[in-house]
Symmetry: D2
Subunit: 144 residues, 4 copies
């Protein structure tokens, strides 16, 4: 893997995503970026009404959405805003029902290839060390 | 696989899901059941505002949610309303951006074991033959 | 999916694979092709000594190898002998220990794209209807 | 995750596996254990004739077998020799053709539950830092 460099910082990513992905990012939306570095991204999933399932815990599809978003953020950060990346494969294991509260999705890129980028995501309830879920997602990216 | 029998019909499933899974099912919600048989379920994902992504097509997380829901419906139908089934693994491949419009998620149970039930889901834009996505999901079910 | 046509028949495939993939195919080797059609392939895994695990049943890695081979055969059949296809992702669910005996791996291509081809494989002990395993594999293929 | 403790050391694991899994472990066999700790295992895949594919690199099925074996070793180490663990799901991404030579499979358990244990495996050519493949596997274990 060639050395990765940040092409967008946190503020640029939030602005880009609020515009391009308004269901997920922006004021009042469930996802926000906590931090980003070359090859990693940390995304918060706010546990609002829409994300809850009976019992008050975050639903599986909300976790999947947050995992997918975390990988997307990590990819945009190193590829820049022009990238039209699309998920081609996502595989997720669910380990336990999270406690009510926010979820932190911690993405590390495993490979940044010319056509495929793969990231893994560790998901935890905020303040808890144990994994709630673990996800590996592949994005197809335009050749550079 | 022992012969599967329906323990809930379509109306019973819709009533149960509107109560237990109100984010997904019920009036004004994105998911509805088209049909169910022992070992299969067909679920419609209504492509409303919340499910769309830029370009007017259904988002990946919405497809994942519908796939997960279709397997859940197929499981409830043969296990009955008492089941507390939880997804333990979901793997999905995305093949192409769907055309704007509803998505049909077609689930077939591959195995109905004592502790694990596995279903596969073929997803298509309504009226189109080509797959938009294909998903395999495992649910952990309480021992019977 | 544009209409698929066979570019290699069964005899051509066996000859090609015995040469290019001699660990798997050819006299005395574990894999052989039962049938092929545009978009499908059926491969036999002979349950020899090397494939067995304690208890006389075929091992998980042997099943994975046969699933991977079945998708490869289905791809070669429609892309022709020039293809340098490589597996990029393989996801398999194991359902039950197979009975001692041969395994039949039944592949259907789900998508035949310009860069990615995805196939699913149903695996059964010969003569048994129940699934032993189910696999979905993605191959990266050279642009055509 | 409750604190894990080793119930078998490296020598006990090698002895157990040579007896129970003679195709994989033991003198002249492809797999050997490099190290083990509570929740991790490192396994070497010797790149012998049987594991090679055209071009002299280790084949995909050999990598899958080594990943599966690494998770099995990590599980036995903390569950002890009585465990009849079976793989229920394995998902692997292949990143690049490894250089000729041995492969190191580095397993970390992500969850050690009562019924399911999940491990992830990073695979590299010996002496190389880049990933060759990355795998996540789920084992079903007898209730304890």
């Amino acid at each position: 893997m060639t050395k990765l460099r940040l092409k967008m910082n946190l503020a640029e990513l939030e602005a880009f995503l609020s515009r391009e992905f308004p269901q997920g990012f922006g004021p009042g939306r469930p996802h926000s970026i906590i931090s980003v570095s070359p090859g990693t991204a940390k995304v918060r999933l706010r546990a609002g009404e829409d994300q809850l399932r009976p019992g008050g815990t975050v639903s599986g599809p909300s976790l999947m959405g947050a995992a997918d978003a975390a990988v997307y953020v990590a990819i945009l950060a190193v590829l820049g805003p022009v990238a039209h990346a699309v998920t081609t494969n996502l595989s997720i294991n669910f380990f336990k029902r999270p406690q009510p509260g926010d979820i932190i999705a911690d993405c590390k890129l495993l490979k940044t290839g010319k056509r495929l980028v793969i990231g893994e995501v560790a998901m935890r309830a905020e303040g808890d060390e144990e994994l709630v879920a673990h996800c590996v997602a592949t994005y197809s990216v335009p050749p550079r």
